[in-house]
């Protein structure tokens, strides 16, 4: 699986920060950041705005990055 597909798949399944994704996949943070940046520019990934302190968007509005969070609302 390519780095692009691996990062998107990991974010979709587990979410997390770029550093966490990089650690799980054994990739450099730089590469993960580049993939997420490009994916965000294409509109296929939304980054959680303002961190968890800004509250959890629920339902269809929930960013994919929050999918792996145990306290995110369905």
């Amino acid at each position: 699986m390519s780095a692009w597909a691996a990062v998107l798949d990991d974010v979709r399944r587990r979410g997390g920060t770029p550093a966490q994704v990089a650690t799980r996949l054994g990739l450099s943070i730089s590469l993960v950041q580049a993939v997420l940046d490009h994916a965000q520019r294409l509109g296929v990934v939304a980054l959680a705005s303002g961190g968890c302190a800004s509250g959890c968007p629920a339902g269809p509005q929930m960013p994919q990055a929050c999918a792996g969070c145990p306290i995110s609302l369905p």
């Binding site: 692009w4 990089a22 590469l31 950041q33 940046d37 490009h38 296929v44 980054l47 303002g50």
Partner: protein
């Protein structure tokens, strides 16, 4: 990682350039790279003082242009000049802001024109050795356009601090060689921060070689996208290919550098255990939730102190020099020429010299602030400050980087406006730039001190403190209103910042940067300030009746004085509808520093520096304000101070706003501030006079 200077020759790819065309008379070279990769430092090192800033066509995005000059190898003493453009930093050519769009457009435009005769240009892609994959992603996008390019490798002295990178243990030349072999284009390690400015000559030779090549080589493994416009499926497939290429190059670099066949980082194996660097240790304090904000406030306080205390004596010195000896010399010289006490003397001394003096008195403030900002930016703290302040600024639709210009505005609005350049998006710069005039600059303090001391002698400090709180409320309220109206398009995107490692500021680069910005201020805003002062002098010199001659007219009988009389009734609902207040407010448009002087002049009293005359001025003010307010002088004075707080700070601010944002937003801001000031002043007086 060693810290020696990575000076080197260009590491050119294996296949030589066979066919050549003549070097264009003035080769166009674009610097492209991500934020904080050392691109601007490289630009300064290449151009020295031969640089200026312009707006990108049709936008308010600032571009740094410069002449990159070297001596030709083949013919000694023959200077080669290249027109170098420092494009806004971006991580991608898939633009998300107007700044990034300028960079993307410039690259595509150069790609389209580079095949035409005499239109050849070269892109220098700046690769960050500490974030190789991210830089390669941008390089891949630039290479897809087909533009001739050279790679400049920076941040080599910091590459060892990135423990999950394959570049962590390499030598600059080795990395450059491996990259050049993998990419098949010239790769030049540069150290524009070091004393020797290593690699710059090699970079020039590499750029010239690519420019004269009839068929410049393309980056290995990169092909143009299938079609100009892709659907989302096509975009995803394209992204897959692009990142496969990035991973391929990264793996090649890692394999070329890994000692003894050890599995390189980023090749699928778990990365090395992170080691806390110096930057990491400092960041545990500076980015800490509890310590970060106090440290940030302390830094901001220091900036404020530098602006108001350190630069203030310099300002006073410059002002005394211009208004004292320089003015006397010019007056004496005109007297010797037989022009003493003529309108020519008035024009030159009271018009031109006062205008030039106004510009010069701002220079110390600007120099101190630009230097301090440069140090904070260059050492890496500015990015941390933005991170710390991000949440508070988000409520205004701005990111954390907007806080610093706003705080600086409390010292002086001018450097505050100049500091908006640290914001990445043009709309955010405009929104912040419109809010900065609402911060109460130190010049307004002179008005507060005079009026609060006169009308509220026992509570002057409390009144002034309340005015500063009002200023903060105006910024917050103004920001929220603008966000809900004209700035709905400003997105509250998360702040994605790659924090740079802490570095020692480079004095030469810092000096050049300050010099360039001061030059832009003098030539840009300075011209408008001087012109405005001249217009004001003319209005004061022209008599409104036939009883006086030009240049020898009391202010009250001048066109300026009559205008004040006409405006005064408009101010009556606020309780200060008198000629003196109207004239002071008109003069205050030039600079708030002259409001007190205007009061003194219009009451025909001497400089309020002495105790006796200050008392006279206070008594005169009390009498006038009591009369125009129907016995509610205190409420009228309070309304006057609120008006001074909310309306346009000075013409210099207008000039800088015009330079940064254009005429239309500046004119709208001027009208908006006047309307806001009037409404607030009327409100304060009407409520205050009934209490």
């Amino acid at each position: 990682m060693s810290c020696h200077s990575p000076v080197s020759a260009p590491v050119v790819a294996r296949r030589g350039i066979q066919t050549r065309t003549p070097l264009p008379a003035r080769l166009r070279v674009l610097l492209v790279g991500g934020p904080n990769v050392g691109k601007s430092t490289l630009f300064n090192a290449l151009t020295g003082a031969r640089q200026h800033t312009t707006n990108a066509p049709g936008t308010t995005v600032e571009l740094a242009n410069g002449t990159w000059r070297t001596t030709a190898q083949v013919k000694a003493d023959t200077a080669i000049e290249r027109a170098l453009v420092d494009l806004p930093g971006t991580y991608s050519l898939l633009a998300r802001s107007s700044d990034e769009q300028v960079t993307a457009d410039a690259v595509h435009e150069l790609a389209q024109s580079s095949g035409q005769v005499g239109q050849r240009g070269v892109v220098v892609v700046v690769l960050d050795a500490t974030a190789l994959a991210r830089s390669l992603y941008l390089l891949g996008q630039v290479a897809e356009t087909g533009v001739p390019l050279v790679v400049a490798l920076t941040m080599l002295d910091l590459a060892g601090t990135v423990t999950d990178s394959p570049t962590a243990t390499m030598q600059p030349q080795t990395l450059a060689a491996v990259l050049a072999a993998s990419l098949d284009v010239p790769v030049v390690p540069v150290d524009s921060r070091g004393r020797a400015a290593g690699g710059l000559g090699a970079l020039a030779r590499a750029v010239d070689a690519v420019a004269v090549a009839k068929h410049p080589k393309r980056v290995a493994g990169i092909l143009p996208p299938d079609t100009a416009v892709l659907d989302i499926a096509g975009e995803l497939a394209h992204a897959e290919r692009l990142f496969e290429w990035v991973a391929h190059v990264t793996a090649q670099v890692a394999m070329g550098l890994a000692p003894d066949g050890e599995p390189p980082a980023g090749s699928g194996q778990p990365p090395h255990r992170p080691v806390a660097t110096f930057s990491d240790r400092v960041d545990t304090v500076l980015l800490n939730t509890w310590a970060g904000i106090p440290v940030f406030l302390a830094v901001v306080w220091l900036l404020f102190e530098l602006t108001t205390r350190f630069a203030a004596p310099l300002q006073a010195y410059v002002s005394q020099l211009v208004n004292g000896p320089l003015s006397s010399v010019v007056t004496s010289a005109l007297g010797l020429l037989g022009l003493g006490n003529s309108w020519v003397q008035g024009l030159l001394v009271d018009g031109v010299l006062v205008g030039v003096g106004t510009v010069l008195t701002f220079l110390p403030v600007m120099a101190v602030m630009f230097t301090a900002l440069g140090v904070l930016e260059d050492c890496g703290y500015l990015a941390r400050a933005a991170f710390v302040a991000d949440r508070a600024m988000r409520s205004l639709g701005l990111d954390g980087r907007a806080l610093l210009p706003l705080v600086i505005g409390f010292g002086c609005n001018l450097p505050g406006l100049a500091a908006t350049r640290t914001l990445p998006h043009a709309r955010q710069r405009l929104l912040t730039g419109l809010l900065i005039p609402l911060t109460s600059c130190s010049a307004r303090l002179t008005v507060y001190v005079l009026l609060a001391g006169t009308f509220f002698p026992h509570h002057a400090g409390t009144v002034i403190f309340a005015l500063y709180l009002t200023s903060v409320a105006l910024v917050l309220g103004g920001g929220l209103v603008l966000r809900q109206t004209a700035f709905r398009d400003v997105h509250t995107e998360p702040l994605i910042l790659v924090l740079p490692s802490y570095q020692r500021p480079h004095l030469r680069t810092l000096g050049m940067s300050v010099q360039m910005r001061l030059g832009a201020f003098v030539t840009g805003a300075g011209k408008i300030i001087v012109a405005t002062m001249l217009v004001l002098w003319v209005l004061m010199a022209l008599p409104a009746t036939g009883q006086h001659s030009v240049g020898h007219v009391p202010v009250a009988d001048s066109v300026y004085g009559r205008a004040a009389s006409d405006i005064a009734p408009l101010l009556a609902p606020a309780g200060f509808g008198n000629d003196h207040a109207a004239a002071a407010l008109m003069t205050g448009l030039v600079a708030k520093e002259v409001v007190v002087g205007s009061f003194a002049q219009s009451y025909a009293v001497a400089d309020p520096g002495s105790r006796t005359s200050a008392k006279s001025l206070g008594e005169a003010l009390r009498g006038t304000f009591d009369e125009s307010s129907g016995g509610h002088g205190g409420a009228a004075a309070l309304a006057f101070m609120v008006f001074v707080l909310a309306y346009t700070p000075c013409v210099a601010t207008l000039a800088v706003q015009k330079r940064l944002f254009g005429w239309r937003p500046t004119a709208a801001a001027l009208l908006g501030q006047l309307a806001t000031a009037w409404v607030l002043a009327v409100l304060v007086f009407q409520v205050g006079s009934r209490l």
